[in-house]
């Protein structure tokens, strides 16, 4: 083998880092078939386009890597064409002609990455849900307000919602992405408006159908259609072909009375037309229209096709909050009280009240954060999540004074250490976190520590800054 071509082969299947304006780009040829999970390390992705089909494949693959938020990475196409109408145009952040163009994108990339960094990666969320979340998060991150179905030859129904259907097709246990959207609409995350409707195969819900008229007798589509001719003077009626003519310039001649048919409306007319099946030789006016599914081969009368309404969706206010606050992680325990803890609002009020009272001694706030709460929650299971949090609350409570309070706001847990010295507070915090880590490691078999903590003094200025930060992260609507 020619070493030159071998080298090309290697390059064709390699992610090449490229540094520009302080950013690191991952340059991927569209022939790339390797792992995509490391792409989270780069600031942006550049796909080198040689073939539309391969490019499409690769983009869809990248946009479906949920792990470490790879699917949210800024992604650009390196191509000499515009691709504005390509089915993947909604999935890319832009097209560049050469590497020099990348420098003009630095601001866009930074602001995109800023937004994306606020979105915690999804782990431990069931596949179906994560694909829906990824769909909503992606569109939200790209400020796509109206999520419309896009015509697409590669999608089962002929339409797909970037990026939802792609994720769907790699396996959601047969549940279609459309069901996920219906469900999300029911939950109030999105609202759907009629976009258009179409018909699907009743067997496999495929949207690619071949329509044709068939003989009602033998289902053949080998039909010949002819006009009927009615000769007034003798009342003879027959298909036109049975009225002969000696040469094409001559008028038709009636086979019954042998008169010529010269003048339509005076000598004759054409009352209707009729279809003749060339297979079974049946005659009929009323053919069936059948649709053959190009996916599963099922052939059906159009009356039996499934009518599908495609909607365009918009995120509701609730849906936006749901995404921005990462509430999909906590949905399970959101409305349940964790015993021995306060609600977040009550906790914030109580802390403020206590500090402003100015009692003697110093006050500390310990913030315990899970590195990956979703992973932990996924391991313990939904049913045990509440009990698990309650156990942690009891451990914290055991190391506090009676006046201290606690709250849970996953992936964080906050507790107070009022009227205490700094080194004592630090020691209590460290020991408590050590115990919690121990508990989790023992119970879940996770080999590393899963929580970190900070211990900060609750001064007036700290509370002020804290309150400010809280109001900033709250949605404007509130």
């Amino acid at each position: 083998m020619n070493p030159q071509s071998e080298e090309n082969l290697v390059l064709q299947n390699t992610i090449t880092p490229f540094n520009q304006s302080g950013l690191t780009f991952a340059v991927i040829p569209d022939t790339y078939l390797g792992s995509l999970s490391d792409l989270y390390r780069y600031d942006a992705i550049v796909v080198r386009c040689t073939s539309l089909m391969l490019t499409r494949q690769l983009i869809l693959s990248i946009r479906s890597v949920v792990r470490n938020n790879v699917f949210l990475k800024p992604l650009y196409l390196l191509s000499s064409h515009n691709h504005g109408t390509a089915t993947f145009s909604l999935l890319i952040d832009g097209v560049v002609r050469d590497f020099q163009d990348l420098s003009t994108l630095t601001r866009n990339i930074s602001s995109l990455n800023d937004q994306v960094s606020q979105i915690r990666p999804m782990i431990g969320i069931e596949k179906e849900k994560s694909s829906l979340i990824a769909f909503l998060v992606f569109n939200h991150s790209r400020q796509i307000k109206k999520m419309e179905p896009v015509p697409d030859r590669e999608s089962k129904m002929g339409f797909y919602y970037p990026i939802l259907s792609k994720i769907d097709s790699i396996g959601t246990g047969g549940r279609s992405s459309f069901d996920l959207l219906d469900q999300a609409e029911k939950e109030g995350l999105i609202t759907g408006q009629f976009s258009h409707s179409g018909y699907l195969c009743s067997e496999c819900l495929g949207g690619f159908l071949q329509y044709r008229e068939v003989c009602p007798g033998c289902q053949s589509s080998d039909l010949r259609t002819e006009e009927l001719v009615h000769h007034f003077r003798c009342a003879h009626v027959a298909p036109k072909s049975e009225f002969s003519r000696s040469n094409p310039s001559q008028p038709l001649q009636c086979p019954k009375c042998h008169h010529q048919l010269k003048h339509i409306g005076v000598d004759f007319d054409k009352p209707s037309s009729i279809h003749h099946c060339q297979q079974c030789h049946g005659d009929f006016q009323n053919y069936w229209v059948k649709a053959k599914c190009l996916d599963c081969g099922h052939d059906q009368k159009v009356e039996y096709l499934v009518k599908k309404i495609f909607k365009e969706y918009e995120l509701t206010e609730y849906g936006r909050e749901w995404i921005e606050e990462g509430q999909y992680f906590t949905n399970q325990i959101k409305n349940k009280m964790v015993a021995d803890s306060m609600t977040w609002d009550a906790f914030v009020q109580s802390v403020g009240f206590h500090v402003s009272e100015g009692k003697r001694g110093r006050n500390f706030l310990v913030t315990v954060s899970f590195d990956n709460y979703a992973e932990v929650a996924g391991q313990i299971g939904k049913e045990n999540e509440l009990r698990f949090l309650e156990e942690i609350m009891q451990m914290i409570k055991a190391s506090q004074h009676t006046a201290d309070i606690r709250t849970v706001k996953v992936p964080h847990i906050y507790f107070t250490l009022f009227s205490i010295e700094e080194d004592e507070a630090e020691a209590i915090a460290r020991r408590t976190v050590f115990l919690i880590n121990h508990l989790i490691r023992d119970n879940l078999g996770i080999g590393r520590n899963v929580i970190r903590y900070t211990c900060e003094e609750l001064t007036h200025s700290y509370l002020q800054a804290w309150n400010q930060a809280l109001t900033m992260t709250k949605p404007e609507a509130k």
């Binding site: 009927l228 007034f232 003798c234 009342a235 009626v237 027959a238 209707s272 009323n286």
Partner: protein, 433 residues
């Protein structure tokens, strides 16, 4: 008092005078409608008895062959009758048939109903024309697509005894010279009004007995389009039906001209609805009677000319028809004039006696009908209406017929008849048929 008067008058007048006064009745009516009827009824029973083996053979042959039959139903705005018709057909003892319905430019729900019935398989072929072409063209379309060995032509508003198709097929196997079979039609809505009751009696007289008579005399002339069965090959050879009205009689004459026999089968029974008021009945009869003139005298005048197609029996058949319908009508007029001019002073004696004679003759004929009708017990009710038949057939129908003949002979009105589309009528008139 008056009856006594009349009675005494005729006793005193004697036979010679009675014959002179009632010549019309004795010469035409008595012979034609009473003597012949009984004669034919007797012949019928004898024939069925003597040839019972042959009829049995015909039955076995039909069922051994089980040919496909095409039931064709052309018509305009008949959609409302179609479902009932398919129900009636589903009950038939003979089931190897296809049903072809032609919608002749209907402007109601017919097309939708027909398509529905076609899609669920109750109609085998439904052909819907956007423009009306007339009854003949509708039947011809059906004929063109018919695949059956025999064609059964039905009207959509008729219903049939469940052995009607079978009974109308047997004659073809009984006598291979038979190419067309007419079925019997009775009135379905006979209890609806006086008009329908009188028509019920008339149908029994004219169709059941009348057609048996003409069939035995081999001068049967009209196979009703409401229920007629034909050999498909013969119909196709003739190029199907020609433009109407009177196409039923026309096709029968054409079949006879080819040398085939035309048979009336009294045991093949259908029911039809008739006009329920005298006003509607008059309209219908004017149309029918006009067609007699047109098709007997104009289009098929060649049956009177000695040429290659000439057959004595065809001429006789037409003469009988024309005679009894046209010439007798004129004779009747002459008779009335005769009476009014020569016996005007005796009219008060003649008219009641005339009515009495006719009524007696009608009862006499009604008994003949009772001998052959399929369920006589249903017909007893009609017995009380027989006296009214004198006025119905003797005066009402005669006057209507007279008007029709007059209009058609001198004004050629049937060409203006809305029964045919204008385009066809114009053609026909230009062709002098």
């Amino acid at each position: 008092m008056i009856l006594e008067d009349i009675y005494r008058f005729w006793i005193e007048a004697g036979w010679e005078k009675a014959v002179r006064v009632f010549w019309y009745f004795i010469v035409f009516e008595l012979v034609r409608y009473v003597v012949v009827d009984y004669f034919v009824v007797i012949i019928h029973f004898l024939d069925r008895f003597i040839n019972r083996k042959k009829w049995q053979m015909a039955y076995q042959q039909l069922h051994a062959e089980q040919p496909l039959i095409s039931v064709i139903v052309p018509g305009k705005n008949e959609g409302k009758h179609l479902f009932k018709l398919t129900r009636s057909l589903a009950e038939q003892t003979y089931q190897n048939f296809e049903l072809i319905v032609v919608d002749d430019g209907s402007d109601d729900q017919t097309r939708i109903i027909g398509r529905d019935l076609e899609s669920i398989g109750l109609i085998d072929l439904f052909i819907s024309n956007d423009v009306r072409g007339g009854k003949a063209s509708g039947a011809n379309i059906a004929l063109h697509f018919a695949k059956g060995k025999y064609i059964v032509h039905f009207d959509a508003d008729c219903s049939f005894d469940n052995d009607a198709i079978e009974k109308s097929l047997l004659p073809f196997y009984y006598d291979p010279r038979i190419a067309a079979v007419g079925g019997n039609l009775e009135v379905r809505n006979d209890r609806e009004s006086l008009a329908t009751t009188l028509q019920a009696i008339e149908y029994l007289k004219v169709i059941l007995v009348g057609r048996m008579v003409t069939s035995y005399l081999n001068i049967y002339r009209i196979i009703s389009g409401a229920f007629g069965t034909f050999r498909t090959d013969v119909l196709k050879r003739l190029g199907g039906w020609d433009i109407g009205p009177g196409l039923d009689g026309d096709i029968t004459v054409k079949i006879r001209k080819l040398g085939y026999r035309v048979h009336f089968e009294p045991t093949a029974n259908g029911l039809t609805s008739v006009p329920n008021s005298f006003r509607k009945l008059t309209k219908q009869r004017l149309r029918w009677d006009k067609s007699i003139i047109r098709f007997r005298l104009r289009k098929h005048r060649d049956v009177f000319y000695p040429n290659a197609h000439f057959r004595f029996i065809n001429m006789f058949s037409s003469l009988e028809n024309i005679g009894y319908n046209l010439i007798l009508n004129l004779k009747w007029l002459i008779y009335i004039f005769d009476m009014v001019i020569n016996f005007h002073h005796l009219l008060m004696y003649i008219i009641p006696a005339n009515i009495l004679l006719y009524t007696l003759a009608n009862y006499f004929q009604f008994f003949a009908i009772m001998l052959i009708v399929r369920n006589p017990q249903d017909k007893h009710r009609l017995f009380w209406y027989i006296p009214a038949m004198v006025f119905y057939t003797g005066y009402y129908l005669r006057i209507v017929r007279f008007i029709a003949h007059f209009k058609e002979l001198f004004l050629r009105e049937s060409y203006k008849d809305p029964w045919n589309p204008l385009k066809s009528s114009m053609k026909a008139k230009a062709m002098k048929i």
